[in-house]
């Protein structure tokens, strides 16, 4: 019902994908240990990738063929089914895990379909592995503790989406883009707002998915772990969209040999994974460049940046006595990651490669814009409080403080008392925002 509401026709495509995985799972299990198991695994992967490729990438290839060869192939008039990238990866993980013997064959089509169509995470992740919920598909427990945790997580996720992410969306996509008075400062504010929008939008959906899952007795794995506090790009990707990162690691990177191969092969593996990561996000060159951009920094870190950072940190710790100055290496590393990530999301959310280049040039003063403008001041002041709230909210500070306070005997009682009040207030504010505005669909719905 949930999926059919948004995709009344493509719901049958999703059910077809479920059926394909169900049959392939049974066949792989039946012929386990024979070459036929491998054959059925390959047909399972090919059929899933073919469906994803047809709906998501056909027009991209037509566009590029037309551009290169000057042909006039007509575009397919098809819309991208919502969430196809997520549920395709989930069904792939199921058949691969069955083949590897890491998951038992699911003999109930209803249960397998429940796993794929589990509505909390169906359209925008996290990418839940079959093995994560295998047991819970049959046996779930329901407690007030789980339900309350799920409700709290859902409400705070909804709050992150409506009260924070959507406001930054307006700043980045409406106010900035429509402003006739852009300045270098405004380009940086755009980049920050854009990065905060993407983080709060996507992590909010994961919070809501995990929360709703809990209320139904499912325990989904975390998808974000405060990525903006990272000090290397590698760490950033261990904290950002963790379910996708681990999926590519386990099903692409490691099968290709991972890093236990020659330098050339490892280089190839890294590029392949990050090319696919970018391409998974969207059928456009900016996504591919976005993925390869991260590959570049990961390679640089592996080759020399990470060791340089380590040496710098060790030097400061050894030679410097003043605590504040000893934090300088951490600050430099953190600044490096933030700048790399801000630029990456400008590429990610750009409407064309030309525009992306123009924005990045303008951020560094090469766009012919003045350094500051009165509108920059206006929007900075307009969003000042929300910026502070969002920046603090993207770190573990709030969680840490809340946990410490709740552990204190007297204060803990007050925190316990305030929690239901906070949930009610956030829920009220979310409804107030929903009835007043047309809400912005989740960014990752398009992937």
């Amino acid at each position: 019902m949930f999926y059919a509401w948004g995709e009344p026709l493509y719901v049958f495509l999703m059910l077809g994908t479920c059926l394909s995985s169900y049959i392939h799972g049974i066949l792989i299990g039946k012929f386990k240990g024979t070459k036929w198991a491998k054959v059925f695994l390959v047909t399972s992967i090919l059929s899933s990738v073919a469906i994803l490729g047809f709906f998501k990438y056909t027009n991209f290839f037509i566009l590029n063929i037309n551009a290169i060869f000057g042909t006039g192939i007509e575009f397919l008039k098809i819309a991208l089914p919502v969430g196809i990238s997520f549920y395709t990866f989930q069904t792939l993980s199921y058949t691969i895990d069955v083949y590897r013997g890491e998951a038992a064959v699911q003999k109930s089509f209803i249960r397998l379909s429940t796993y794929v169509a589990l509505f909390p995470q169906l359209v925008a992740g996290p990418i839940v592995r079959y093995t994560t919920v295998e047991e819970e598909l049959s046996n779930r427990k329901h407690t007030f503790e789980m339900f309350a945790y799920g409700a709290r997580r859902f409400v705070f996720g909804l709050g992150k989406k409506l009260l924070i992410a959507d406001q930054f969306y307006k700043l980045a996509e409406t106010f900035f883009r429509n402003s006739p008075e852009k300045s270098v400062g405004f380009f940086w504010i755009y980049a920050i707002a854009n990065a905060l929008y993407i983080y709060f939008d996507f992590s909010a959906y994961s919070d809501m998915a995990i929360g709703l899952g809990k209320t139904f007795g499912f325990n989904f794995l975390e998808n974000f772990n405060h990525p903006y506090i990272s000090k290397t790009v590698a760490e950033f990707w261990r904290r950002w969209h963790m379910s996708l990162g681990s999926w590519f690691r386990d099903y692409i990177y490691i099968p290709l040999g991972g890093n236990r191969v020659s330098a050339i092969k490892w280089f190839r593996n890294t590029l392949a994974v990050w090319f696919l990561t970018g391409f998974w996000h969207g059928a456009a060159w900016n996504f591919i460049i976005w993925g390869l951009y991260f590959a570049l920094f990961l390679l640089l870190e592996k080759w020399f940046l990470a060791s340089a950072f380590k040496k710098m940190t060790a030097f400061f710790e050894e030679k410097v006595k003043i605590p504040v100055i000893r934090k300088i290496p951490g600050f430099i590393c953190h600044t490096y990651v933030i700048i790399v990530v801000l630029i990456s999301f400008v590429i990610f959310n750009t409407r064309s490669l030309g525009e992306g280049m123009e924005f990045i040039k303008s951020m560094f003063g090469f766009g012919g814009h003045s350094f500051w403008s009165s509108q920059t001041t206006y929007y900075l002041i307009n969003y000042a409080i929300l910026l502070v709230v969002a920046i603090i909210g993207s770190t573990p500070v709030v969680k840490t403080v809340a946990t410490k306070l709740s552990e204190m005997p007297r204060v803990g009682k007050i925190v316990n008392l305030l929690e239901p009040v906070a949930i009610a207030v956030v829920l009220l504010l979310c409804v107030a925002t929903l009835v007043n505005d047309s809400f912005t669909p989740f960014l990752y719905f398009q992937f």
Partner: protein
């Protein structure tokens, strides 16, 4: 509070909120019109297989559910207060808020629109007034954004450029500068328009330029209507109090009549009966000769005029409240709104004769910046 009890309370709040909202949505009667937002609310969409498959039903249902949600107005106020009071936003629903004054944020000066206005005014001037004895004047009414951006950083139009372009493009007209005559307090706090009782200095400035000052006494009685909620009141959704809407009368104005060429009806200058209707749906500003209504051509007749002189005002809704105050100096004042009718056709159809009238092009900066509706 024990954790177990807290978990039960959270569960009850969450589940209760969803259940009660659902029940309220079902039992609440459908509201057809939102007087605060001045728009019709979405109705339950047509349910057919076709509308479901095309997703029209789902999209329209989302709008319907949002529009018909119980306590919608109160919730909009909660959201506006949260954003302005807690988050410190300088605007609410796209409207700038400063010291209780609300204005639409306009930060894009549309050069093409200004050029269009210049071309349209030039066309009318050259065709109808250039070779006559009529004296033609141009005046621009700065909107509230001009004053709100004066001492701060609120985004605003490039008023200097608009003024310079208009003056340069309309050389045959004598320019009357109102930028220094007006101030923010001359406007309603919650409406786009100026308040009639605050613009006597504007009337004086214009009358001086037109040469009709000696025929105008500027001696009026103040009449109050309350509460007046301007067009931005409901849009901003902030809990702001109603304002006084003052209209100015005199013995001469009381004898004046307004003829609407479109309907063929004659009415008094002030239509206070429209103010009562404003609570339901209409705009209280309509008291002033229809205010912002679509009225292409009106004529004020002054039976006590001491002159045969006539005035033609090419105007937007701001003209509705200032024209009566200029009427004492003329036998007739024509109000032409070229957003709703072509002047060539009006002149031809209604048999208007151009002789030695005073002619005033009086437009707000907001309308000049979105002039493509000029016919």
């Amino acid at each position: 509070m024990k954790t177990q009890l807290k978990n039960k309370i959270v569960t009850v709040i969450f589940a209760g909120f969803i259940l009660i909202s659902f029940l309220l949505c079902i039992v609440k009667p459908v509201t057809e019109y939102s007087s605060s937002e001045r728009r019709n609310l979405a109705k339950f969409p047509k349910l057919t297989w076709q509308t479901i498959l095309s997703k029209d039903f789902q999209d329209d249902f989302t709008k319907y559910a949002s529009d018909q949600f119980p306590f919608r107005d109160e919730l909009r106020t909660v959201k506006a207060l949260f954003q302005t009071s807690i988050l410190g936003f300088l605007e609410s629903n796209g409207l700038a808020v400063k010291d209780g004054y609300i204005a639409k944020i306009e930060n894009f000066t549309n050069d093409k629109s200004i050029e269009n206005a210049i071309n349209k005014f030039s066309e009318i001037f050259n065709k109808h007034f250039k070779d006559t004895d009529a004296k033609v004047f141009l005046s621009i009414i700065p909107d509230k954004g001009y004053f709100m951006s004066e001492d701060g950083f609120y985004p605003s139009l490039d008023y200097e450029k608009i003024e310079a372009d208009m003056i340069a493009g309309l050389e045959g007209m004598e320019y009357i500068d109102l930028f220094d005559v007006l101030e923010l307090e001359d406007f309603y706090k919650t409406d786009t328009h100026w308040a009639q009782d605050k613009i006597l200095n504007v009337v004086e400035t214009i009358a001086n330029s037109l040469g009709s000052k000696d025929r105008i006494s500027l001696d009026f009685q103040h009449n109050k209507l309350y509460p007046f909620y301007g067009v931005y009141h409901g849009q901003a959704a902030l809990p702001l109090p109603g304002e006084e809407l003052n209209y100015l009368t005199s013995d001469i104005l009381n004898d004046c009549t307004v003829y609407d060429y479109l309907s063929g009806k004659t009415t008094p200058i002030y239509r206070t009966e429209l103010f009562a209707e404003s609570e339901q749906s209409k705009d209280g500003y309509n008291v002033f000769m229809g205010g912002a209504s679509a009225l292409p051509l009106l004529r004020i007749d002054n039976p006590n005029a001491t002159t045969d002189k006539e005035l033609i005002i090419f105007r937007d809704s701001f003209g509705s409240s200032i024209a009566p105050l200029l009427a004492e100096g003329y036998s007739s004042v024509y109000l032409v709104d070229i957003r709703y009718g072509n002047f060539d056709m009006m002149k031809e159809f209604y048999g208007l004769e151009i002789t030695d009238q005073d002619v005033l092009f009086l437009y707000s900066s907001i309308i000049l910046n979105s002039s493509f509706s000029f016919k």
